[in-house]
């Protein structure tokens, strides 16, 4: 179910603009990896290259390779659509489909791809995914209500349920808690802890306490100035990064003395 990712010398471009320069890192299977860094340093951009969502933006492209269990995601003959079925993604703002009910949202990945499923299989998938996202008890009596009727935190967990319903190997989370209140944030963080046993999780966060709480390893990205490309400064075990970082820039950032 879960896979490791190795990134080798990855450059990320928007047209001619180099947004992220020369990143090499390893993401371990069944672990939580956090990306931290100031705004605009390319964490989210880099995250989006891991499931080829980056190239949805016109003109965006990458150089280098991303290996998932040894297979290059950017190799010739790789279907980006298929990649995204293996690498799920949760976005910054909860984005349930407004025309679908709670249950339909959960199975959207299956239904939108025109796959046929028996009614009982659909019901099982809805229940197991919602249980996996710690949402089942709260919504089991109103599965046919619209997804937008839920609170922000519940919507975000619905989006996580939707992402794990397609049974990905890796789950990418792009600041999943930045639009949520502390209690909903706590619920998502607990969920990340549970999901770790089955999925490889990569999370981008602006909240350093969150990175310290949920992640096993942390990567710090930084940017030299506006118009310059973002770079990976260092990556290490989370405890090391937050107690004894190797780089001065990392220490400045996590202690609030950056810029």
């Amino acid at each position: 179910m879960s896979k490791r990712i190795d990134v080798n010398n990855l450059n990320v471009f928007y047209g001619d603009f180099l947004a992220v320069e020369d990143v090499s890192l390893a993401i371990e299977s069944k672990s939580v990896t956090a990306f931290i860094g100031p705004s605009g340093c390319g964490k989210s951009t880099f995250l989006r290259t891991l499931n080829r969502m980056h190239e949805v933006i016109p003109g965006a492209r990458v150089e280098g390779e991303v290996l998932m269990d040894g297979t290059n995601l950017y190799g010739p003959g790789v279907d980006p659509v298929a990649v995204r079925r293996h690498v799920g993604m949760v976005f910054q703002r909860p984005n349930p489909f407004p025309t679908m009910s709670i249950a339909e949202n959960v199975v959207a990945g299956v239904k939108l791809n025109n796959k046929r499923m028996s009614k009982s299989d659909v019901a099982d998938l809805v229940e197991s995914s919602l249980r996996g996202a710690n949402l089942w008890e709260e919504v089991k009596d109103r599965l046919d209500k619209p997804g937008s009727s839920l609170s922000g935190g519940q919507q975000q967990r619905l989006c996580i349920a939707r992402a794990i319903a397609i049974k990905p190997d890796v789950l990418l989370m792009d600041e999943p808690c930045s639009a949520l209140d502390p209690i909903s944030t706590l619920a998502i963080e607990d969920l990340i802890h549970e999901l770790k046993s089955e999925y490889t999780i990569v999370i981008v966060t602006h909240n350093m306490q969150q990175a310290a709480r949920v992640s096993d390893r942390t990567a710090f990205f930084n940017i030299a100035g506006t118009g310059k490309p973002g770079k990976l400064i260092e990556m290490d075990d989370t405890t090391t990064i937050f107690s004894a970082p190797a780089e001065k820039a990392t220490e400045d950032y996590i202690s609030g003395r950056f810029g």
Binding site: M53, V81, A82, H86, N95, P98, N113, N114, I166
Partner: protein, 319 residues
């Protein structure tokens, strides 16, 4: 130092502001009433004059009946009190339906191209052409369709389908514009959510983007239909007039409601010289007004249906 009129620390609403507020209130309500006058006047006139024909029965006596709705004009001449619009309703509905069937797929796909795929010169060219098409006078659309069929099929071709083509020329730009605006309103986050689930672009457009915008698209299509259903000039040229039923778009002339109104109106008062025969001199005028009433009712019914459909399609909210 506080002035003498000030009784609270915040002062009072100044006399000038009160005066301006009053004047603006009068102005705004006045403008609203003014805008309402022609609408109410028109509705009242059409209803009051439109019922005249329904109050004349086959003997020329005053008795309410609905013959007008299920008779055609076949064999009707002079001041005969019979004669109806059944054939014109059938013609209007079938020609408008055909025009809708032609223009909705084209307009929808063009809008999808503009919003989801188009870029650069071609996109700008299509946008420009759609803008130009919006301004085409309807008579020009009618002449164009007539000329095309005259070349392709033969001179003097007047068929329902020619009219449908002329109307679709008028409908397409409206559908493109409305659909384009609606597709643009679909948040990009929903597209990304769909892509991230491993859904290909075409399915994303079909099942997420268009589905989310369906309510607005329906409204746009209805507005486009309402825009063309009352068109007279292009149909006069492309379809001609007919006195009897014809539901075949590909064979012979057809009657439509707007053209019916014109042709009845043009006949003017009829002479009634033989007292033996039931005759109403103003019958043609009655018919024209009654047909106008029916046309307005059809447009209203269409709007009502569109509202229901768009309510059904619109994204659900609430708990």
């Amino acid at each position: 130092m506080a002035s003498q009129t000030t009784t609270t620390p915040f002062g009072q609403v100044s006399a000038r502001r009160k005066a301006v507020n009053g004047a603006m209130t009068v102005l705004i309500y006045g403008a609203f009433a003014l805008a309402l006058i022609p609408l109410l006047w028109l509705s009242a006139t059409v209803v009051s004059r439109g019922v005249d024909r329904f109050m004349v029965d086959g003997n020329g006596d005053e008795k309410f009946n609905l013959d007008f709705l299920n008779q055609s004009m076949r064999g009707i001449f002079g001041g005969m009190p019979e004669g109806g619009i059944a054939h014109a309703i059938a013609g209007t509905l079938s020609i408008t339906l055909a025009a809708t069937l032609i223009s909705v797929p084209i307009g929808l796909l063009a809008a999808v191209y503009l919003v989801e795929y188009g870029k650069g010169t071609l996109k700008r060219a299509v946008t420009f052409l759609v803008d130009v098409m919006t301004g085409i006078p309807s008579i020009v659309a009618g002449l164009f369709a007539y000329a095309v069929f005259a070349v392709v099929v033969g001179p003097g071709t007047k068929l329902g389908i020619v009219g449908a083509v002329a109307l679709s020329l008028l409908m397409i730009p409206v559908v493109v514009r409305a659909t384009e605006e609606m597709l643009k309103l679909v948040p990009n986050e929903l597209r990304e959510a769909s892509y991230a689930l491993g859904v290909p672009k075409w399915l994303t457009i079909l099942k997420v983007v268009i589905r989310t915008a369906a309510a607005g698209i329906t409204t746009g299509v209805t507005l486009a239909i309402a825009r063309v259903i009352g068109e007279t000039a292009p149909l006069l040229i492309a379809v001609g007039v007919a006195d009897s039923y014809n539901l075949n778009l590909f064979d012979g002339r057809m009657m439509t409601l707007p053209v019916y109104i014109v042709s009845e109106w043009r006949k003017g008062d009829q002479p009634c010289n033989n007292p033996e025969i039931a005759c109403v001199p103003e019958i043609t005028e009655y018919r024209a007004w009654a047909a106008a009433l029916v046309l307005i009712l059809i447009v209203m019914a269409l709007n009502l249906v569109a509202r229901l459909v768009s309510k059904y399609f619109s994204p659900k909210t609430g708990r």
